[in-house]
């Protein structure tokens, strides 16, 4: 599904190299957790996968289903099935949430050669998805993310993920800012989407999220490289002993 080969990337503005030779493979159906201390490049990796222009890939490649995505713009990546659940979803005043959802869903359908959704079918899908995430439809009458609490924004991200049915889901610290109840709702939402043809890249600081979304593999990111990979026991080990040991081993 996803293969990252010797990836090097830097910030366009000041040339700072953030990703320094990163290798990672995620198979179809796999849930891969990316952990690492602050500043290790976790969020940067998620932005690079989504195609944010602030970063420039200087070396290496990202293959998605065997094809390089480096030349694709964010919209092309999204319609090919890559989805980024933002750590800090943006508030966009004036853009009606429902209209945005409709446009986004129909863009996905257009890419797959399907007809635009009829309004009743669209409403039905949104209502079902919202109910499964315990979201009030009244919230969706507001402009996109405007006035949403941190937890509501994260739920709205998962709602979009459900509706857009991506194949590669990148979750950037989806657990940050969530209380225990919201964490459970969001995790259940993610788990319901697990499928043999869908992969997840779950970026997190804490083991806590991984108790709910149990990963198949765990990768430790440090200074822009994967320095250790393992199964879910690696996450437990990190929780108990911190990153120092793993970093020391790698050095």
């Amino acid at each position: 599904m996803l293969e990252i080969r010797n990836l090097h990337a830097r910030i366009v503005d000041d040339g700072t190299e953030i990703i320094r030779g990163l290798n990672l493979t995620v198979k179809a159906g796999e849930v891969a957790a990316i952990m690492g201390p602050n500043g290790s490049g976790k969020s940067t990796l998620s932005y690079i996968l989504a195609g944010r222009e602030d970063y420039e890939v200087t070396e290496g490649d990202i293959l998605y289903n065997g094809q390089s995505i480096l030349e694709m713009d964010p919209a092309e990546r999204a319609t090919s099935g890559i989805f980024l659940a933002f750590q800090y979803p943006m508030e966009i005043p004036g853009v009606a949430t429902m209209e945005f959802l409709k446009v986004a869903m129909n863009e996905q359908r257009k890419a797959r050669g399907e007809e635009p959704l009829k309004i009743p079918e669209f409403l039905k899908r949104v209502k079902e998805a919202a109910a499964s995430l315990s979201m009030d439809m009244a919230m969706l009458k507001r402009p996109l993310n405007v006035g949403f609490s941190g937890g509501e924004k994260k739920r709205a991200e998962i709602l979009q993920m459900k509706l857009l049915e991506p194949k590669l889901c990148v979750l950037d610290e989806t657990d940050s800012g969530l209380d225990i109840d919201a964490l459970k709702i969001v995790s259940d939402g993610v788990n319901a989407l697990r499928a043999p043809d869908r992969s997840f890249l779950v970026i997190t600081h804490y083991q806590r999220l991984l108790e709910h979304i149990v990963p198949d593999t765990v990768h430790v990111l440090y200074k822009g490289q994967v320095i250790k990979s393992g199964d879910k026991s690696l996450a437990l080990d990190l929780e108990a002993n911190g990153y120092a040991g793993v970093i020391g081993e790698a050095a």
Partner: protein, 422 residues
């Protein structure tokens, strides 16, 4: 022999002066009205305002008005569907009112040509200052329009739409509306057409005590027309006026908004959007006088500039010496989408009272790249995403209007503009 130093007249000035001579015998008016017309054409003879006149600094009318079409008596304009279903529509077709005026409970419609002929409108034809070129042009040539009287206490369920539709040539019209005490109304002023016309249009509104009016100016002239418009209002005690304007067309446009609070407790809101494209020039100039104590106002203007379009917003708030406890806030935000477009904004606060709250702010921005990335990351292609964000920028002002039928109607006009200019 004396040496006379005559300034060289522009072809537009000459055309206007000649046209006045030719039209004079056709213009309605009693002695008082004709005297006002004579005064007005004298103003034009002194020359159209240039950038040396402060209020015209960003819109040098003398230089920009370079063609004045002839009057075209054969031009035919057709009434159009109102923006809000069920509105009472009165149309001025190529400068002429309809002999058949609608019947609406609590409202009297009268053709303005009648009020010119009997002279009862004469006091309203005075200009508001020496730089009032639009007022002068209109007073010299105005031949028709409507007078609308909304009775005390009348609450209109549906809007009245006043349509000024041109099909080329010159049209000079006036709309005079009196809203009685405690009356409520929504009035739509629709300015459009399909010819390379010169249009002058003056609207006058008087609000009685406690009256509440929403006045929408929807200007969608073709990119060949010159549109010179003025909206003047007096706000009585505890009255509320919301003026919303949308400029979405015209080659050379100046919309003046001249408002005066004359009764305590009056509240004025100005909301407006300028959608500017092509090689056009659009100027919105507001002069607001807080003339009595305890009155409030807010002004929010949003501009979208594309192509080689140039835009201007001048907002002048005068707080008179006795107008204590005035509260006034003004904001002008511009989204600049092209390198060749420009927007000039000039806020002016002149405050003679010492216990007031007044503020203003202006911003010029491009599309927010974070927002663009977010929308694209959901699969929305760049062009559509930009369109959504630009529309969002101006739609915010529309949504504030809070009346669903009006919001929908204006958003439809907005969509229309984006279809042709997106």
């Amino acid at each position: 022999m004396n040496m006379h130093l005559q300034p060289q007249r522009t072809s537009a000035e000459t055309a206007l002066i000649d046209a006045f001579g030719e039209r004079l015998s056709l213009l309605p008016g009693d002695g008082a009205v004709m005297l006002k017309r004579d005064d007005a054409i004298e103003t034009i003879k002194h020359g159209l305002p240039t950038r040396r006149v402060e209020s015209w600094h960003y819109t040098d009318l003398r230089r920009l008005l370079n063609a004045v079409p002839d009057f075209d008596s054969a031009a035919m304009a057709k009434a159009i569907a109102p923006i809000v279903d069920g509105s009472t529509v009165v149309s001025i077709l190529n400068g002429k009112s309809d002999a058949k005026v609608p019947v609406l409970e609590g409202v009297t419609f009268q053709r303005l040509s009648e009020k010119l002929t009997d002279g009862s409108i004469a006091p309203g034809l005075d200009s508001y200052g020496s730089d009032d070129a639009i007022g002068a042009l209109n007073t010299a040539f105005v031949a028709d329009g409507y007078f609308v009287d909304i009775a005390d206490g009348a609450e209109l369920e549906k809007p009245i739409e006043l349509q000024n539709l041109q099909a080329g040539g010159q049209t000079h019209v006036r709309l005079a509306v009196r809203v009685g005490a405690g009356a409520k109304a929504v009035i739509v002023e629709r300015q459009t057409g399909d010819g390379p016309a010169l249009v002058s249009s003056v609207s006058q509104l008087v609000l009685g005590e406690g009256a509440e009016v929403t006045w929408l100016i929807v200007q969608e002239q073709p990119e060949t027309a010159t549109h010179l418009a003025q909206f003047k209002a007096h706000l009585g005690k505890n009255s509320k006026l919301t003026v919303f304007f949308m400029n979405a067309g015209g080659k050379l446009v100046r919309q003046e908004i001249v408002v005066r609070t004359t009764g305590e407790g009056a509240d004025f809101k100005l909301r407006g959007i300028n959608l500017l494209a092509g090689d056009t020039h659009t100027d919105v100039t507001m002069v607001l006088d807080h003339a009595v104590p305890h009155t409030t106002s807010t002004e929010v203007i949003r501009n979208v500039v594309t192509g080689k379009a140039r835009g201007v917003f001048q907002g002048r708030i005068n707080v008179h010496q006795y107008a204590q406890k005035t509260n006034a806030k003004m904001a002008c935000n511009t989204l600049l989408l092209s390198d060749d477009g420009e927007f000039s904004t000039k806020p002016e606060l002149e405050i003679f009272a010492d216990d007031v709250v007044c503020g203003h702010g202006a911003t010029v921005t491009e599309i927010d790249h974070d927002h663009l990335f977010y929308l694209m990351a959901r699969g929305v292609d760049e062009k559509t995403a930009r369109g959504l964000l630009v529309k969002a920028f101006v739609a915010e002002v529309i949504e504030e209007l809070d009346d669903e039928s009006i919001v929908e109607a204006l958003e439809a006009r907005l969509d229309d503009w984006f279809v042709t200019h997106g």
